[in-house]
Amino acid sequence: MAFSLGGILAVLLETFRPLLPFFIGLVAVDVLATAYGLHRGSFGHAKARRWALIIGVAAMVVAFVSGPMLTQSTFADFSRIIDWVLLAGMSLGVGVAGFILSLPLASLLK
């Protein structure tokens, strides 16, 4: 059965619904920080990018390592290459989200 993009987004929305207030707050703070950074001309400076990258990579590693644990399983249950590829892909997604969400705040650093 084919899932539409709308369907996939609806599923993700349900997955994160309990955390929605937190994400809305975070995005609001990010928007403000982005506006402030753009106004000051300091958005995405080199140091900010480095910090955001560190946070993104950390989030990716944590997601990768804790992935099986969050599903009450272990790496021993990974019997196909596709399991590793998909976990890596999901962790990469978490890492990219970590980078994007932390960049505006990191831009506030001097």
């Binding site: 899932f3 987004l9 599923v11 196909r80």
Partner: protein, 445 residues
Amino acid sequence: MSQQSKSTRINPGRRKFLQASGLGLAATAGGGVLTSPSSHAAVQTSAHIVIVGAGAAGLDAANRLSRELNGAKITIIDSRVEHIYQPGLTLVATGIWKPQKVMDQNARYMPDGVDWIQARVAEFDPSANAVVTDAGQRINYDYLMVTTGLQVNYDAVEGMSPDLIGQMGIGCVYDKPDYAARTWAMIDQYTDQGGVGLFTRAQGPVKCAGAPLKVTMLTEDLFERKGTRDRGEMYYTPPGQKLFSQPDINEFLKEELPSRGITLQWDHPLVGIEPELKRATFATPNGNERIDYDFIHVVPPMQSPEPLANSELAWQSGSFAAGHWMEVDQYTLQHPRFTNVFGSGDCVGTPIGKTAASVKAQVPVAVSNLVSSIANREFAARYTGYTSCPLVTRKGEAILVEFDYALDMVPSFPFINPHEKHWFPWMLKDRMLHSAYNAMLRGRV
């Protein structure tokens, strides 16, 4: 019954805010796709549509109809206030999930502007376009959507009653969180103490035909994890010569179960239990056979709920008449004799179905065709028989089985092999399918 019916017009402010804010976020990311799930503009009508049953199919239908129709009066009838995420019951019964995880509230998914009558339908009168509630209220309709789910017939197994679940080695994963939790108490005890375990499967269609198999394999896995496997003598007792309707999976299971020391006892429909003696009776082709057990997983026969079964809406002849399933055209989901009546979910008699995954595929079809009926359009939607079962083989491992009327595998994700057990389908079952189910209740997948 003298229960007073209560009518509620749903308008929960906070929920609306969360929906709006959440959908706003998601719609931004997806270019607004979430706000336009239908290819047609909403149809203007003053028709009164009654939905009977606010389970998976009923809520999905209510949400879709309220978006796809403008000016319609939509009434949904169900006395049940709590919503049970039934696909999670297998994990509750095997100790993997806590019962609270499958408990929810229907009100969270009820669309705005829909009249919710908190009663049960006691009588269907399709010749007069009316239903009668158990409070004696007669409700007329222009169109009817029947989504009552099914009824588990504990009485069909002599000596069995739901009160026995959780006592004297008796378990049953169907059909309430409390029963599943009590089943877990029995399975936990059985995998400590061992003995003979009988894992039964009723004759005829049951909801989620994979559930009895999952309970069996997860129990075996638990023995292994506890290091007590040598104490348990396990038997799986199908009523006929098949384990699963999809042939590839049937073959897989015919190897998998014996390879794990689970003996297959073909042609063993359970007909009775003697709880005090811990003895089960099976009506085999060679006559009744009695087997003593230490644990038994009872899967009773199922049928459509009585008011539906006793109505003209039920199949009057053919193979679906035995379970009194609702008669529908298997492709359009329209009743062939009462053409303003549509059905979806566990209650309908179709060759494949009785899973939440089927509901996901059926409801958009039934709703689309009902709306087409109102708009005097040709029916454009057809149900292909799609069903799916994340067949959990062990904790941490599953096969994502998806097939249709032709019994062909129809995988949603081309990168997941529907013949292989591995972690990713388990991850879907444990983490994602509940969200997919909730999105379905909102009519969004």
